[in-house]
Symmetry: C2
Subunit: 101 residues, 2 copies
DNA sequence: CAAACTAGTTTGTAACACAAACCACAAGGG
DNA sequence: CCCTTGTGGTTTGTGTTACAAACTAGTTTG
């Protein structure tokens, strides 16, 4: 317990945010997902989803591809390798914390 | 996975903050702790520790007793029943999320 | 009696999350 | 042919945070 709580200090804040943790969790199992699918799954508003995705992209954890389905715009999101690694590390850390305390 | 990420939406934000999660984890096993002990264990600055403790108190999760050890002021912190329950619920939720995804 | 330590609180600031308003385009109905 | 509805988002505004740094107050030590 003494040193174990220090695990928490190094938790990746980009991923720690619940909305982004949910997004990352989804993206880690789907190859790619479109905007509205992510919105339905997470229950986020469009505005929040948009800004959380932007933050994941800034961090280099997600790639966002804006394309079209016919003439309708379509935003496709996928987790980058860095994102997958960060997610994995986050989970491992948190799991250790839960086990040790 | 579909519904499982929704678990994250209801995560207690007072506890979710890493600094407070560390504090709560410590307090959940020690009966009571003084300010400087908590500071050493968590590595927080006094200012941040002070404000995080205040937030735990506001939430009803910790009781803060200001007393003296001889003439030296001493701040004793303990987890309330509500705090212990919230911590337990938080852990259970997060554990479920980690298992399900 | 001055310097340094103990034990905190207050203040200032930059980042953040969230909701609400807004924008652009497209398809379908009257 | 407008005009309402739906899709797919972005921008803006606001209140809340987390954090560090400065400050306060009393106490022991040299």
């Amino acid at each position: 317990m003494p040193a174990d709580v220090r695990l928490l200090a190094d938790l990746d804040k980009v991923i720690h945010e619940p909305a982004r943790l949910a997004l990352t969790a989804i993206l880690s199992v789907v190859e790619s997902a479109d905007f509205l699918y992510l919105q339905r799954e997470t229950g986020l508003t469009k505005g929040n989803l948009s800004s959380h995705l932007a933050k994941l992209e800034e961090a280099g954890y997600a790639s966002i591809e804006k394309t079209y389905r016919g003439r309708v715009p379509l935003t496709l999101v996928r987790l980058t390798d860095a994102g997958a690694a960060a997610y994995k590390a986050y989970r491992a850390r948190f799991k250790r914390f839960l086990e040790k305390t």
